[in-house]
Amino acid sequence: MAEITADNAIAEPVPVAKRRIRFDSAASYLQALPLAIILGVFLVLPIATIVMVSFWDYDSIRIIPDFITLNYEETLFSWITWKTYLNTLKYTVIVWTLTMAIGFWVAYFLAFHIRTTTMQMVLFLICTVPFLTSNIIRMISWIPFLGRNGLINSTLIQVGVIDAPLEFLLFSDFAVVLAMVHLYTLFMVVPVFNTMMRIDRSLIEAARDAGANAFQILTNVIIPLSKPGLAIGTIFVVTLTMGDFITVRFMSGGQSASVGLMIANQISLLQYPAAAANAVVLLVVVLLMVAGILRVVNIRKEL
């Protein structure tokens, strides 16, 4: 849901100037109609349903159409929710920082250090190769690597760096963050690379001619002009991390909670109204975060 929201924010239609007669405006409405129908049926309607169900009552076997606020009270006035949100935010901030740091430099390397477009595209495609396997496979392949008797630990013990296996490598926050960074960095690389490719190279030459050194070019020219890409990447990473439950479950060994996991637990016990209330709260939080990002950076300028 969060991902769609992000897409939606980007794809908001640019108002068409009313230069022509009414026929044209009717035509443009017609053109917008298919998307409007799709978004209406697959985005607005489900969200409306979720909002509606979040006010329903339930017992262990049924959900009962009603209007109660108990689901929200249970969600908002419980320390578990707050703690879970804090934990989810913690992951989000760490993962966002790391993916941005890594993603920016990968994109920078691709955009400014690789000379030929062909090579750029080849390397860019190599970046996407891991996406040919599923998310979950990429994630769980870390497990034998990080485990108590895994590759890292056995190597370190053989080399003689440590005596006992490092327990924090697997089923820990470290493992969760590692897997998330691994999974989501590309979502940062792609938009940043895209924006960097649009930067007019003559601006950099001009800066250099004006006497700027490499660092000044980076901070005064490239970073400001890459902001829209960073913002889009941020939206991707933040929404994905906030909603993630499978990575948290697998990599923390079920030891940590995230909002998504809390919702998944409720759904698995058929407590749909509680899950819906939780989902609405999550949606609001994520939308506020996206709104905050959009206030800082005007990404529409770049599209």
């Binding site: 339930y58 017992d59 262990s60 076997i61 049924r62 249970e74 419980s78 578990i80 703690k83 879970t84 934990n87 497990i143 034998p144 485990g147 108590r148 008797n149 895994g150 327990e167 697997l170 089923f171 479950r249 697998f250 923390s252 060994g253 079920g254 030891q255 940590s256 909670a257 996991l261 809390m262 637990n265 409720q266 759904i267 698995s268 016990l269 058929l270 407590q271 509680a274």
Partner: protein, 429 residues
């Protein structure tokens, strides 16, 4: 095979209208044709079955096609997903293969139809455990959602569970087992005798319980009671105070670093054990077998407090009618007729119709799986893998020993809603 063909008036009129194909179904459904196979191939009957991975096995579908001509389309899900599917997408399946504790939630939702006992050919062969809750006439009924308490409803259109057996069954029992802790005998380095051993500080960071709240809480209850922390009125139906105490204890243990992980799927539990991340954990019997099949020692350790049991069965979707309904009964009768029972027994589960299953097992197999006798020759899994070498005996012994030791059944509590909240607290802590 030579029995007379009976027709039941109400059904026959409909069947005649539906044509020749359905007549076969009627005859079979009314119990007239006893000899398999009644081949349905001309009718192209397809039954869609959803359920848990334990019993949604392709071999069963293949054998069913060969014996009955009915095409079974199996969808294997985890317990939670199976419950959701059963309740929320009633048109997406014809047969629901779910567990009894789930049935307690699912059946009152009204998406399944009660089964007519008079159409079940092998009803009297079903072990009494599913009829009156007793393994033997003397045994006491275990705590939790015992299958017989949700096995029958009051009438054809009722969703209210009956206290006594009636002519209307919610589900036909098929498979069940008694679960306990799995251990790595090579790594624990001591005798494991009680559920409380999982909390031994010696195993700090090397234990696991499962993170399916309704089952995990039962494991926690077994541990709590074994440690003497709480004496539950009914482990399968805790009060809020009991839940508070149980979860508080789990949180303390978690904070002290007792657990390495909490698993949710079969594979996770196998990996945890096989990789040596944990040495003692709650486990399912085929997962123990899976670890063993990798050549790693793993024992399904019987414990003095007894077992946590579960049972599954087949339910009919509400929308089934006519020839399809008849085919479904035919399928269920075939299921109970022995071949599947033998298959399940040979996997380490138990068939609900043991008598018929016996005919499909060798004497040695029956002795090993059911009577706790040492195997005379290698024990082969239904897939043809060697599961146990000759001379081995089953962990926990015979059928009566294992099932006689059931302390509680997996359950759905009255305080279910509160339980999940508390469980989330545990995971968030």
């Amino acid at each position: 095979m030579t029995k007379k063909i009976e027709t039941k008036s109400g059904v026959s009129r409909r069947s005649l209208l539906k044509g020749a194909a359905a007549v076969g179904g009627l005859a079979a459904g009314s119990g007239a044709i006893t000899g398999f196979p009644t081949v349905w191939s001309k009718t192209d009957i397809v039954l869609r079955q959803v359920g848990t991975g334990v019993s949604n096995i392709n071999a069963i579908a293949e054998k069913c096609k060969a014996d009955l001509g009915i095409t079974l389309q199996m969808t294997a899900l985890d317990s939670d997903a199976a419950a959701q599917r059963t309740v929320t997408q009633p048109d997406s399946y014809d047969i629901a293969d779910v567990e009894y504790w789930i049935c307690k939630k699912v059946f009152p939702a009204g998406t399944l139809q009660p089964m007519d006992v008079s159409k079940l050919k092998y009803f009297d062969k079903i072990v009494p455990l599913f009829i009156n809750g007793k393994l033997t006439p003397e045994s006491t009924i275990a705590q939790g959602t015992a299958p017989h308490t949700v096995g029958f409803v009051e009438g054809k259109d009722s969703t209210k569970f009956a206290k006594e057996p009636t002519n209307w069954m919610t589900m036909v029992p098929t498979i069940y087992n008694a679960d306990t802790l799995g251990i790595r005998p090579d790594l624990v380095g001591r005798e494991i005798t009680t559920w409380a051993d999982i909390m031994d500080p010696k195993f700090k960071g090397k234990t696991s319980i499962l993170n399916i709240p309704s089952i995990g809480i039962m494991d926690a209850a077994m541990i709590m009671e074994a440690m003497g922390n709480v004496k539950y009125g009914d482990k399968g139906n805790m009060t809020k105070a009991e839940l508070d105490k149980t979860i508080a204890f789990l949180i303390d243990a978690k904070k002290a670093g007792q657990f390495r992980a909490f698993w949710k799927s079969f594979d996770e539990s196998v990996n945890l054990m096989a990789s040596g991340e944990v040495v003692i954990q709650s486990m399912w019997s085929p997962a123990v077998a899976a670890v063993r099949s990798k050549g790693i020692a793993c024992k399904y350790q019987p414990l003095k407090e007894g077992y946590r049991a579960w049972g599954g069965g087949l339910g009919l979707a509400k929308h089934l009618e006519g020839a399809q309904l008849d085919a479904a009964y035919e399928y269920i009768n075939w299921y109970m007729s022995g071949w599947v029972g033998g298959y399940l027994n040979r996997q380490g589960y138990y068939s609900a119709c043991l008598e018929t299953a016996k005919g499909f097992m060798s004497e040695d197999e029956w002795g090993f799986w059911m009577e706790g006798k040492p195997a005379k020759s290698d024990i082969i899994s239904p897939e043809g893998k060697v599961m146990e070498k000759a001379g081995a005996t089953r962990d926990g012994g015979s059928y009566l020993q294992r099932l006689g030791g059931i302390a509680c059944w997996n359950s759905v509590m009255d305080e279910d809603r509160y339980m999940v909240r508390k469980w989330n607290e545990f995971i968030a802590a």
